[in-house]
């Protein structure tokens, strides 16, 4: 063979290999994201405060309200004022927000427990559902993060309850979304608070449509069991989402977790024992769903005091028999007490969300944690969890290694890519402590950080009703792996996000995306390259990429 003798110029190198950074922590093979807390430096100074009524709630909403596709942030404040912050972050840089004091009407800033973004009136601007202790408020979104109260315009009676949960779905043939509000303790009832949970409410738009919805005829969901989170979920792949509600056993009597059939044109009806529904009684605080075992049926994480539940359909389940069993222990997801520190008392879990924080292609589970206030039997130092998905299935705790184990009482949260670098960041609302804003800086190494796996962020758009395609399913196929995401409004703890759907793709550098639109129609496959923001318009033959301002 031919060989050459020549001088090889090595610019600061050795021959055999580049000088690699050390691998991550020895006990965890996967990347552990470094979450840098920088709320104050980013311009966010906010707390969720208040007496007993605000022991629960404390929501956040991450959504684009000014048309630049970057997620802005709104926070509930309890007795503090709810606030909206406009995202000014540089791409891939440190997070930066600017408060927009006049964004939310003054009347809608007090007594706020939770926030969910949703384009209710199909005008292309996301509106904001404001949960409150007292009258709930629908804020109609406008340009440049402007919001106006729309209860009267939408014929919406915000009631006087103590609202702590919300979910929405677009039912077939209805011109606007169906809204569900979950309420907590009825403080005016005799014997309050014990056994005096308020009923919940489901609101279907009335009439043929037009520019404004008409929510003048509520359906009362009784009994209510002190809901703290609710989610429309297609648990049986029927195409007809049911309403899952997690309830706080602290205050109900003879209550339980709930699942309501919500069939078009029919009153909602709860699944009962005769339907296979098993009684589960927990201090239910938050719901997250994901199809962890890729069988097409979602699993549910239910946060509570003590064990987090992770429910999957049991072998006894049938099409209309929702029989669930708990697999949290087998999957290392109980997160039942603090994983670091000296406090061994049970944890108190709130917001839950499945996302891929390290872009390895596997879903992780974030859980906000925090003592209710000063409950002696529960951990006082109760750090948030970051349960990283393992290659062999299940989860392993990395909250402390990631840097999110702060001595704060977490409540609601928003998971979004605030600086558009493909890595998910995290905002956590804390009770009587500053909001935590974590920037995901990449995988931890001994000397700093390194890039993690590949990713896609996907936006769906359609015309007419339901522009953000709530209820759609996005499948991302790379090789033999198919990753699935559902677009939902609801769940978590008093917190919602809207915008790009994030999917980590691990080592896959390209993927085929298919969309099942909310009406059940499947799209053609879209071929895309990883590490891009993808915009898919319904009916389009090819996807488009979106690029943030550099």
């Amino acid at each position: 063979m031919t060989r050459l003798s020549f001088a090889l110029c090595l610019t600061g190198l050795v021959l055999t290999a580049p000088a690699t950074a050390e691998d991550g922590p020895a006990d965890l093979p996967m990347d552990v994201p470094v979450m840098v807390e920088e709320a104050l430096a980013a311009g966010i100074d906010h707390q969720y405060t208040g007496p007993w009524e605000y022991f629960v709630g404390g929501g956040a909403a991450a959504f684009d309200c000014n048309g630049d596709r970057m997620p802005d942030l709104a926070f509930a404040g309890g007795t503090s004022r709810a606030s909206l912050y406009v995202n000014r972050s540089a791409i891939g840089g440190e997070l930066q927000f600017a408060e927009k004091p006049d964004a939310l009407p003054e009347d809608a800033r007090d007594h706020v427990t939770g926030l969910y973004p949703l384009d209710i009136d199909n005008d292309g601007y996301r509106d904001l559902v404001v949960l409150r202790v007292g009258e709930n408020i629908l804020l109609k979104g406008g340009p440049d993060c402007s919001f106006t109260e729309a209860n009267r315009a939408f014929a919406f009676d915000g009631g006087r309850a103590w609202s702590t949960a919300f979910a929405a779905t677009f039912e077939p043939h209805l011109p606007f979304p169906t809204l569900a509000f979950g309420n907590y303790v009825d403080r005016s009832a005799p014997g309050s608070p014990w056994g005096t949970c308020h009923d919940n409410v489901l609101l279907r738009p009335q009439g043929p449509g037009g520019e404004r919805p008409d929510y003048s005829e509520p359906n009362v969901l009784t009994p209510g069991y002190c809901a703290l989170s609710m989610l429309f979920t297609d648990w049986n792949r029927s195409g007809e989402p049911a309403l899952r509600i997690t309830n706080d056993r602290q205050y109900y009597r003879e209550g339980q977790e709930q699942l309501w059939r919500v069939s078009p044109d029919r009153p909602p009806r709860p699944y009962r024992r005769s339907d296979g529904w098993r009684r589960v009684q927990i201090w239910g605080m938050g719901i997250a769903e994901a199809d962890l075992n890729a069988d097409g049926f979602p699993e549910y994480a239910l946060t509570s005091m003590g064990d987090t539940k992770l429910q999957t359909l049991d072998d006894e389940a049938e099409h209309d028999r929702p029989v669930y069993r708990d697999i949290a222990f087998d999957n290392g997801a109980t997160a039942h007490r603090p994983y670091t520190g000296e406090d061994l008392k049970p944890s108190t879990g709130w917001h839950a969300e499945f996302s891929d924080f390290n872009n390895d292609g596997r879903l992780d589970l974030f859980i906000a944690k925090g003592n209710v206030q000063q409950m002696q039997d529960f951990a006082a130092y109760d750090p948030d969890n970051l349960l990283l998905g393992k290659a062999e299935g299940g989860f392993t705790e990395a909250g402390d290694k990631a840097g999110i184990a702060l001595p704060r009482r977490g409540r609601g949260a928003a998971v979004a890519d605030f600086n558009m670098d493909g890595m998910l960041d995290l905002a956590v609302v804390n009770r009587e402590a500053p909001v935590s804003l974590f920037r995901n800086a990449g995988g931890r190494t001994e000397t700093g950080t390194r890039p993690m796996g590949n990713w896609l962020e996907i936006e769906l758009r359609q015309n007419g009703v339901n522009r953000d395609a709530i209820g759609a399913t996005v499948t991302v196929k790379s090789g033999n792996e198919t990753r699935t995401r559902k677009l939902r409004v609801g769940g978590g703890h008093a917190s919602g996000s809207a915008g790009f759907v994030h999917v980590g793709t691990g080592t896959a550098e390209r993927a085929q995306i298919r969309v099942q639109w909310p009406d059940g129609e499947w799209s053609a496959p879209f071929r895309v390259f990883a590490n891009n923001f993808v915009v898919i318009e319904r009916g389009a033959t090819s996807a488009q990429y979106w690029y943030p301002v550099e």
Partner: protein, 418 residues
């Protein structure tokens, strides 16, 4: 580099970790459902003992004849498909790797150019509030257009001959592999069952022995770096001046015909390259192939090789890399001329009848021809050009026999020195 050559020529054994009984040949680490009946298998692999088993003509790092064709597919977990039935794969002839470092450098500069054009279009659209359409042209090669909207949306539909992320992937017959590094990792797994830690290791798969053959971390980052270093510094093919005056005269005429009938529309005689600094890892690889930020890049200055002086330079000081290619994909068949449309599967989003322009440097040393090695003569493969190359092919057929022969005589001067 010595280590790279040793790895390139090594006949891997089971003691090294050869074989992948529980892993498919897929680029994305994928488990088999059950081990195969035999470790070696022509379709699903592993199918070679050494890189140099196939890349061997006329020198190590060269090409291979039909005997050493390989089969390309994404891998299947189901053993029913891991049979010898070739309908689930594409058969490919072995390319040579001479000058591969220069090819990758060209691709990197072209990718950077295209992405800069995209960036400018997006910026202008945002600044003006109006859609901006930009031609994607780099080093004289046109890759279609993009249209940027003021809101940052990019219309991809007019992109031509390059992936939608505007990364030129210069390797493989389809032009679907980004770098020598990525290709080395893929090939080591597919052909030898030797798995690189940076793709198949615990970080991504949770296992140090993903293929379950009893050998953990079979190829380190250093091993792959060595393979890259050796391949990147391989000398490029050259244009030889024939000793025979008749051949010399014919080659001169053939060279002129090469241009007049339009061969050079795709087989560009040379592409200008600004820098010979080859950094590893490179700038365009994705996770699963070592990237900047995961390692301190090293730079091999190819200008210090003893072959660098043979490269011509233009007035701007650019090195003229005589690849006789354009690093662009083209449709190469049409209804009448379809012999090169003989693949059954698209590959990595590229349609069956679309291939990257073959670089002709070294073509005289690397018969047979065509992506499958179907053609024993240059005349044969030229006649098989359809699609985008149809007009040139027809012009070739219209030449007198002597002139066609002259064109072949010219191509026969493009050799890999021994």
């Amino acid at each position: 580099m010595d280590r790279g050559e040793a790895l390139f020529t090594a006949k891997f054994t089971e003691l090294d970790g050869a074989g992948r009984k529980m892993a498919t040949q897929a680029i994305i680490p994928t488990k088999r459902k059950r081990p195969p009946d035999t470790l070696f298998q022509r379709i699903a692999g592993m199918d070679a003992n050494a890189c140099s088993s196939c890349h061997r003509e006329p020198v190590t790092g060269g090409a291979g004849d039909f005997t050493v064709n390989v089969f390309v597919n994404e891998g299947f977990v189901n053993a029913d498909f891991d049979t010898v039935d070739p309908q689930f794969s594409n058969e490919r002839n072995t390319n040579h790797l001479m000058g591969a470092g220069l090819v990758e450098l060209l691709a990197r500069e072209m990718s950077a150019d295209l992405q800069a054009i995209r960036r400018d279009a997006l910026r202008k659209a945002r600044d003006t509030g109006e859609a901006v359409t930009a031609d994607l042209v780099t080093k004289g090669v046109h890759f279609g257009k993009v249209t940027a909207q003021p809101d940052g949306i990019l219309d991809l539909r007019q992109i031509d001959g390059v992936d939608t992320d505007l990364v030129i992937r210069p390797f493989s017959q389809k032009g679907v592999m980004t770098s020598l590094r990525q290709f080395a990792i893929n090939a080591m797994n597919q052909h030898h069952g030797m798995q690189a830690t940076e793709r198949f290791g615990a970080r991504w798969t949770g296992e140090t022995d993903f293929d379950e053959d009893g050998h953990a971390d079979e190829l380190t980052e250093g091993d792959i770096s060595a393979l890259v270093a050796w391949q990147a510094t391989l000398p490029p093919p050259i244009a030889e001046t024939p000793d025979d005056p008749a051949w010399r005269e014919a080659a001169a005429r053939g060279s002129a015909h090469f241009d007049t009938i339009g061969c050079n529309a795709c087989h560009l005689r040379a592409l200008p390259l600004e820098s010979l600094a080859f950094a590893d890892p490179g700038p365009f690889d994705a996770a699963g192939t070592l990237r900047g930020g995961e390692a301190d890049a090293v730079t091999y200055d190819l200008a210090l090789t003893d072959w660098a002086d043979t490269l011509e330079r233009n007035a701007d000081g650019d090195y003229l890399i005589p690849t006789f290619g354009d690093l662009k994909r083209h449709v190469i068949t049409d209804r009448q001329v379809a012999a090169l449309g003989n693949e059954l599967l698209g590959q990595r989003f590229v349609e069956r009848n679309e291939f990257q322009t073959s670089e002709l440097w070294g073509v005289a040393s690397t018969s047979p021809y065509g992506h499958r090695g179907d053609f024993t003569t240059l005349d044969g493969v030229i006649r098989a050009h359809g699609g985008d190359a149809r007009a040139s092919r027809d012009a070739y057929l219209d030449l007198a026999e002597d002139e066609r022969s002259a064109l072949i005589a010219f191509l026969k001067t493009l050799v890999i020195p021994q």
